[in-house]
Symmetry: C2
Subunit: 295 residues, 2 copies
């Protein structure tokens, strides 16, 4: 009986799945909604199941074959122990391994070789591989980390707008535009902040880059400060990998490149494959012995 590998790339806004044969050749792909196992684990399980079934259908296979699949899941929030313990037995697959979304991204971007990736999105995390050793740097989340992330950039844009409103900092086109979105009423912005998640702040991050490109002082100051944080984290993973390959991933990566130090710009390499391909490669490596036994 043919056994199938499933790779899952699960994030806070969407979930992607691929199905592959035992050699790791991808046969089909599927997509579904958010799979945030920390904030909504049951929804995440449903969406991951949907995405996997869609991948089987895309491959021209019976969707019920998910139940015999060996799955490798790269998920944000995998470092919260209770969450993984809740999700793992509720997944529809024959065997499942939950690892970080960063690890599958690293695998996809750099294959089996040494090097480092920086994932610059709503949050930030850095991974460095030397031989069999993979170390993560950062990735502690919005409240105490994620410096330079989309969530933090958005928060800084709103914060700066309030400083400008109060006359503590100069007004700029950006601070006026941001305040204008709240009808120029700081109380509305404060009300927003009471319930805002990192992703809510992150929606303002692209605007910081837009205004900076137009020469906005406030936006440029925010990006200088944020890029300096990222430079320091890149220094750290470069130290671990002895200056090996470095790859930027995530929604903000292309936007950030011009603001990074030239010492990093010069050595950036493009990703070889995407995170989903990385998940399939790790599924193949993880389940190789088991699959041989079952063959």
């Amino acid at each position: 009986m043919q056994r199938y590998l499933v790779g899952i790339d699960g994030g806070g806004t969407s979930c992607r799945a691929a199905v592959a044969d035992a050699t790791g050749r991808i046969l089909g792909r599927g997509k579904s909604g958010a799979s945030n196992i920390m904030t909504a684990p049951d929804t995440a399980i449903l969406n991951m199941t949907d995405a996997a079934r869609s991948a089987f259908i895309d491959a021209g296979l019976d969707a019920d074959l998910v139940e015999s699949a060996h799955a490798y899941l790269g998920l944000a929030g995998n470092n919260v122990e209770n969450t993984v313990a809740y999700v793992l037995p509720r997944l529809p697959f024959y065997q499942s391994v939950i690892e970080s979304d960063g690890l599958i991204a690293l695998q996809g971007a750099l294959g089996n070789g040494d090097g480092a990736v920086a994932i610059l999105g709503t949050g930030t995390i850095y991974l460095a591989r030397t031989g069999a050793d993979v170390r993560s740097v950062g990735g502690w989340g919005y409240h105490l980390g994620d410096l330079g992330s989309g969530g933090r950039l958005g928060q800084m844009a709103l914060q700066q707008s309030l400083l400008a409103y109060d006359g503590i900092a100069p007004q700029s086109a950006m601070t006026r535009a941001v305040l204008d979105e709240f009808s120029n009423e700081p109380r509305k912005m404060v009300a927003f902040s009471q319930a805002a998640k990192p992703g809510d702040y992150g929606r303002y991050a692209p605007r910081v880059f837009e205004f900076a490109a137009k020469g906005d002082d406030a936006a440029q100051a925010i990006l200088r400060q944020s890029a300096a944080f990222i430079d320091l984290a890149l220094d750290r993973v470069s130290e671990i990998t002895d200056g090996g390959r470095l790859c930027l991933l995530g929604g903000l990566s292309a936007l950030y490149v011009p603001y990074l130090s030239t010492r990093h710009q010069e050595r950036l390499v493009p990703p070889v494959e995407d995170a989903l391909s990385g998940a399939i490669a790790l599924a193949k490596a993880t389940f190789a012995n088991m699959m041989d036994g079952a063959a």
Copy 2:
């Protein structure tokens, strides 16, 4: 019939009340638990009532006289409209006015004259009075403001400890001590951060000052950055008051003085009276006509 004035100074950790005669002479004082009208309005109402009744008893008066009193309440969270609308009709007093905790502090510290106060506690807010005009600067809360506040200082100490853990920033005695409180397990610190309120972070603020005094580089850097923010806000209120009197209040005020610019240090004045006395003075001014009519 003698009419009484009540002043309330309500905060997130305790609530203080005073009762005065119609001339504003304080007859008794009382204290009770937290009165955070934003997060726990019913508890706040109970505690404010308790504190006021205790003040009447302290004055040798019947506690039920609170029902005939004219009360002036200085409360954090008074700028959240729905909250005030909920609390106001549920208070035990004959007449009540809810204003900000900042306003009663300003009145207590500077009396009726012009000048500015900075309240440096778990949060921060600045008030400037010129004639009849009182303007507040900052006070937008932890998420988007409160730069230099106890909440922010604590957050920075924890954040810096994680950067040191990752090798992105140098370790110091402070970063080691903070991490040690979480058993040197960043995940425990991250779990703390998921639910931490500004007051929870604020408990680490005094330690930042302690380590800075011992020459800790990380602690000193946090305080330099935070004091620079406060300097800018003080510049702003000094601009509004044309360099008038400036008074620092709040739990961190004395600790911050050595880190502020000398341009501010040199013109600091001590508070004339406390916030509760300010509340009574404002109660007297607010209810003067009404009391005359009732006399």
